[in-house]
Amino acid sequence: MKQKFNIITSTCIPLPLENVDTDQIIPARFLKATTRDEKFFGDNLFRDWRYNPDGSLNKDFVLNDPKYSGHVLVAGKNFGSGSSREHAAWAIAGYGFRVVVSSFFADIHKNNELNNFVLPVVVSEEFLKELFDSIYADPKTEVEVNLPEQTIINKATGKSEKFEINAYKKHCLMNGLDDIDFLVENRDKIAAYEETVSNR
């Protein structure tokens, strides 16, 4: 949490599936915790894909493949669809991911990642496909994610793309600030707003 973000260079873990929903990222039965224990959520990231029904490791799932490691998850389009559970973002952060790369993110999950200092990087379909190809050709393929410059580079091919993030959120990520600090500081403005609408 609140790990300041600048430039990250890392190998990647490829998950070339579309519409990965938050029920897969963290199944509902792990939502009963009342604390924000990132290790617990990280341990259960993609639980039902990572483990067989008998509890043994599913050797076919990418997180269990020793070839792949790193702080960057690369996933197919519409990542994080479905439930608003922030536990999904806690699981991703808890596992050690700092960046998720996809061509498209679901809205609520994208906000949840940002609020947990995990950077969602939206790239073009072409960039994503090439990155998957690079990773499969060489699992040691690195990407460089540069938040100040808002660029991502596939170091295997040299291909680079700009990504979008609003200036406010970028400032928060780079300085370890969160929205609650900001909102509590302007409670006066909120009370003044309430005065203007008291007759609505």
Partner: protein, 464 residues
């Protein structure tokens, strides 16, 4: 030239953060037990009190068992989470409708039925189906737990302004076609990401003709197209529904509120970022065959084949077919079903029970079916009994359980076993959603009832 969404959003802007999001004032925060404990913990760690505790309503719904609610919850982890909500509400001075309280139920069923959800409001909850409340003409959307904490701390949230989309459905809905079918049809056309980034307003003759319950079902499912929220301009149907409800304005307050609510519609020259039109005549009773809600089809159709799909699409599709035990191109009519679930914030309202009862009346539950009929709230339960629907269901061999989210996401004991097929009126057919290995087919209460009495997937129109 403003849209309905613009009017409500603009009226709630406290300030626009430079090169950043909007600080939006929130009229209602609903809290359930699953997505709130870490927000309360955050408030404590920061030494904060809730800024406007009177605008926050709490109730457990996800973990609640659907039987013996008067006894302690057997699962100690579920019990701890439900107890934590009661304690947090007490500590922070918030309204709490606990289990066995007559006002308890699924938060998205209770809000509208108690008159807590009103037109023109901004409403949030740590739950993606908060979009439900948009049916009353509110801007309502689901948020994460950090955002729940923001609203507790400041009654505000920082949000990027979404784009606007209007979906117009012209014409009249056919026999056996419900709001659920309309939603499943739209998802099948738009996919689960087709409306991501947008706030949707539903319009057109088919939408206007829906009852309040139907509109709540439709808006509930907006998130399944990826939409930030969905809404319907309030009209006489809305006003009639709200009038006299417990927390709704009364007397002079009512007159004043009504005058304001009548201004809540998109101007004739309003410009949406995107317009989509469908014809009601094209919509049939629907069912899903895959593992996301966009994988739906008319119940009489065949599952698509992989022709023309890209490699990544094909990989996802085949994984889904393997999970469901279906073959691309096959027809589902006559397939054996194991479980039927009627309920959830999608279809746990009185009209859904009326629809289900209309099919099972005079018939019997099929022997191979385990049926879970779960009212969305105690108020719905009471209506079921007042209208004698309980008798119709019991004579057909069904029992009514106690209210809660239940098998929609199986956080309580109501889990569909691995490999079993469930025709469900809930909102998601994701892998493992109704229990590890469960296979969910989303459908309307009519289609669920047809499966419950025949034991197989059946077009409900053949029983009407």
């Amino acid at each position: 030239m403003n849209t309905l969404f613009d009017k409500i959003w603009d009226a709630h802007v406290v300030q626009k953060v430079e090169e950043g999001p909007t600080q939006l004032y929130i009229d209602r925060l609903y809290c359930h037990e699953v997505t709130s404990p870490q927000a309360f913990a955050g408030m404590r760690a920061r030494g904060l009190k809730c800024f406007r505790p009177e605008k926050i309503y709490c109730m457990p719904d996800h973990n609640t068992p659907t039987h013996d609610q008067d006894k302690p919850i057997e699962d100690p982890v579920s019990k701890a989470q439900v107890d934590a909500l009661a304690q947090n509400a007490a500590d922070f001075g918030l309204t709490h409708f606990g289990m066995m309280n007559k006002k308890n139920g699924i938060i998205h069923v209770v809000g509208p039925e108690r008159g807590l959800t009103l037109p023109g409001m901004t409403i949030v909850c740590g739950d993606s189906h908060t979009s439900t409340h948009g049916a009353m003409g509110a801007v309502a959307f689901g948020i994460g737990t950090s955002e729940v904490e923001m609203v507790m701390a400041s009654q505000c949230i920082l949000q990027a302004r979404p784009k606007t989309m209007r979906i117009t459905i012209d014409g009249k809905l056919g026999k056996g076609v419900t709001a659920k079918d309309v939603a499943l049809y739209m998802m099948s056309k738009m996919t689960t990401s087709g409306a991501t980034g947008y706030f949707v307003e539903y319009a057109g003759e088919a939408i206007r003709s829906l009852t309040m319950e139907g509109r709540l079902t439709l808006c509930n499912l907006s998130i399944e197209m990826g939409a930030r929220g969905g809404m319907i301009a309030p009209d006489e149907v809305t006003f009639e529904y709200i009038k006299g409800r417990e927390y709704a304005p009364k007397g002079e307050e009512w007159d004043k509120a009504l005058a304001y609510w009548k201004t809540l519609k998109s101007d004739d020259d309003a410009v949406f970022d995107k317009e989509v039109r469908y014809d009601a005549a094209d919509i049939q009773p629907m069912i899903t065959y895959g593992t996301n809600p966009g994988m739906g089809m008319a119940i009489t159709s065949n599952i698509p084949t992989t022709d023309g799909m890209s490699e990544v699409e094909k990989g996802s599709f085949e994984k889904s077919m393997q999970y469901m035990g279906f073959v691309p191109g096959e027809n589902l009519i006559g397939k054996k079903v194991d479980y039927v679930f009627l309920g959830a914030c999608t279809n746990g309202r009185i009209e859904d029970f009326r629809a289900f009862a209309s099919i099972v009346k005079g018939r019997k539950k099929a022997d191979n079916i385990t049926a879970w009929l779960v009212p969305g709230s105690w108020m719905v339960d009471e209506q079921i009994r007042e209208e004698g629907i309980d008798k119709v269901l019991e004579e057909a061999g069904f029992e009514i359980r106690q209210p809660g989210c239940s098998a929609c996401l199986a956080m309580n004991d109501d889990k569909i076993p691995a490999g079993k097929y469930s025709v469900s009126t809930s909102n998601r057919n994701f892998e493992g959603r109704q229990g590890p290995g469960s296979r969910t087919l989303l459908a309307s209460p009519l289609t669920a009832a047809a499966a419950a009495v025949t034991g197989v997937i059946t077009d409900p129109r053949t029983l009407m």
